[in-house]
């Protein structure tokens, strides 16, 4: 198993956002390891996941529920459907563990979610913990820190 280059890691993060913008959610979910998680903390610098609330803390089962729901005939909050747009800063490789096959990247982003005539802008940082597997890189943890994580929000229906 060849260790990924820094460029491979950056390309992975860019590709992941591209799948979301293309609304290819099933392909996006396939990027997660079986035990992968998508975490959006509620507090700045939050480290506690169990005994502090988060906006999202999803395993692949909960992500699958969300994705299936987006396609549902009776999912009225998606009729019409939402769309999204990621504007990413160049990801930086924060750490490499070639022996363990674990890599961490950090990516500043602006994210737009729209539905009907409404457009919402969010800003934050995505931290990807990627794991090298036999099938290639997979997401062990995607952490999304919004700059205003503790603000009052309306619906956030897609993925940042």
């Amino acid at each position: 198993m060849k260790a990924p280059s820094n460029q491979d890691l950056i390309d992975f993060v860019l590709h992941e956002a591209r799948l979301l913008d293309d609304l290819r959610f099933d392909d996006w979910l396939a990027l997660f390891a079986d035990d992968g998680r998508y975490w959006m903390p509620l507090a700045r610098g939050q480290t506690e996941r169990r005994l502090h609330c988060s906006l999202m803390d999803e395993d692949t089962l909960l992500l699958k529920v969300r994705i299936e729901r987006l396609h549902g005939q009776r999912t009225f909050s998606q009729q019409p459907a939402s769309r999204c747009h990621h504007l990413l800063q160049q990801p930086t490789v924060e750490s490499r563990d070639d022996a363990g096959g674990i890599y961490v990247t950090r990516t500043a982003f602006h994210y737009v979610e729209t539905r009907q005539d409404e457009q919402q802008l969010y800003a934050g940082w995505a931290t990807h913990t990627l794991r090298m597997t036999d099938d290639g890189l997979r997401i062990a943890l995607k952490r999304v820190d919004l700059v205003n994580c503790d603000a009052a929000f309306g619906n956030i229906q897609l993925f940042m």
């Binding site: 609330c53 909960l62 729901r69 009776r74 503790d150 929000f153």
Partner: protein
């Protein structure tokens, strides 16, 4: 059109119909702030948010800026959060510590923690001005406050219905939530979820005891969760998330049988005999702690109470078995901020708080699929009510003229779980407390 016109306000609520203006009219919203939210006991916060003398929590009561503050003697008071000089909010929004007094950040007028004016810089500048006769010299006004088992309520009107008369037996839900702690104490824990809704605050209150919507509106979320879970390989342990989601799509019969209890003054709860919170997995060590604290019989009685949603009119909902409190903060006729708070049962295993927090995240967050289902309905209703095709909202389900004679029965009345009586009950209380202090105007 409605100001100083109690007859017109009373005419908005028929036996089985409510006029759409209650949900759309900016004038009625303003009158709600001046009358309904002044004459009733409104939740402000929890005493555990201000553990030490000088700790404060600044928030709103209706549309009024207020600050809840712990006094040197250990009591909790609620003050109008406004400097008597130029009107600056003396305490910044949210939690903080004032020390021994509040000091306005604009001109350094200072107030004791009970609101009394303590000092003004260059005081001699007010000599011979008649300052002692000004409102300012009286300090920050206190809101009539009642702390019930650490839940802090305020009544803005200086006189009116007493706390006990207003809530009556409905306090049993707060009692049950507190009693679920082996030490008989709750603490706010885990952060608050804040969710903006572009709809009238009463749509959220109505929804709390609306048991005919989950199997329809939440088919997309809870229904999908159940379907996805069915694809898991045989023998996979049921995740906590599925256990929390699944009961939402119980059939109509389940909700009919679980019952609703209605109390006077607009309070009521779903989940009398059974509820969607009744069948959660046991938490290791919890029963033992409860039995040790209360004895087995009493512990069984406390945990056997599985009330679903209790509405404390006007604007909170409490879930005893899952230790959450939702506060529907009115902002405008078509705008509401929903705050979902969670509590730790002091002395109970952490797993209970973990379950509470997961429930709050899955159901009440702006990122929650269940929340998305509901908000879509509220916003469509807010827009649909602009229709001039018809003026009335229907709340006739299981109406019985006899219900007028049944309240006030202090114990409340138990009825079919899909009865819309609780919605009618809320609007009857709405008329009562909207008009209680309203004078008939000359124009009416």
């Amino acid at each position: 059109m409605y100001r100083d016109n109690p007859d017109a306000i009373a005419a908005l609520v028929r036996d089985t119909e409510v006029h759409k203006d209650c949900y759309t009219s900016p004038e009625l919203f303003q009158l709600e702030m001046e009358h309904l939210f002044a004459n009733t006991w409104v939740y402000v916060g929890h005493a555990s948010q201000v553990p030490n003398a000088g700790d404060f929590y600044a928030t709103t009561l209706g549309d009024q800026p207020v600050v809840m503050v712990r006094q040197p003697d250990g009591s909790v008071k609620v003050l109008h959060n406004r400097c008597l000089h130029k009107g600056v909010k003396v305490a910044p929004d949210g939690a903080g510590h004032a020390g021994r007094h509040f000091r306005c950040p604009y001109h350094a007028w200072t107030y004791k923690l009970d609101g009394a004016l303590q000092s003004v810089p260059l005081r001699q500048g007010y000599d011979h001005t008649g300052f002692e006769h000004c409102e300012a010299s009286r300090g920050m006004p206190q809101v009539t406050t009642r702390v019930y088992r650490d839940f802090v309520f305020g009544r803005l009107a200086p006189t009116g219905v007493s706390f006990e008369d207003y809530f009556g037996e409905s306090l049993s839900t707060l009692d049950n939530m507190v009693d679920r702690s082996p030490e008989g104490r709750l603490e706010v824990a885990g952060g608050v979820l804040r969710y903006l809704h572009r709809c009238n605050w009463k749509m959220l209150v109505d929804n709390q005891t609306d048991t005919c919507h989950p199997m329809v509106a939440h088919e997309s979320s809870a229904g999908t969760a159940v379907r996805v879970w069915k694809q898991a390989p045989e023998g996979t342990p049921k995740p906590m998330a599925v256990e929390l989601f699944a009961p939402f799509v119980s059939p109509y019969e389940f909700f009919e049988k679980m019952g609703i209890r209605v109390w006077d003054n607009g309070h009521g709860h779903t989940g009398v005999a059974d509820s969607i919170h009744a069948a959660y997995s046991p938490v290791p060590g919890y029963w033992e702690a409860m039995a040790a604290a209360y004895g087995e019989e009493r512990a069984k009685q406390i945990l056997g109470e599985v009330r679903h949603n209790t509405v404390y009119f006007p604007n909170i909902m409490v879930k005893g078995p899952i230790q959450t409190l939702r506060l529907f903060k009115p902002i405008a006729a078509d705008r509401t901020l929903v705050e979902s708070w969670t509590f730790r049962l002091v002395g109970a295993p952490d797993l209970l708080l973990e379950r509470t927090l997961m429930y709050n995240r899955l159901i009440n967050a702006p990122t929650s699929v269940v929340g998305h289902d509901d908000l879509e309905m509220y916003e469509r209703a807010q827009q649909g009510l602009l229709s001039r095709g018809t003026d009335w909202i229907n709340v006739a389900r299981l109406f019985d003229p006899a219900e007028f004679g049944q309240l006030p029965d202090p114990a409340g009345v138990v009825t079919n779980g899909t009865n819309e009586w609780q919605m009618r009950n809320q609007m009857r209380a709405w008329v009562r407390y909207m008009t209680a202090s309203m004078k008939q105007g000359a124009a009416a």
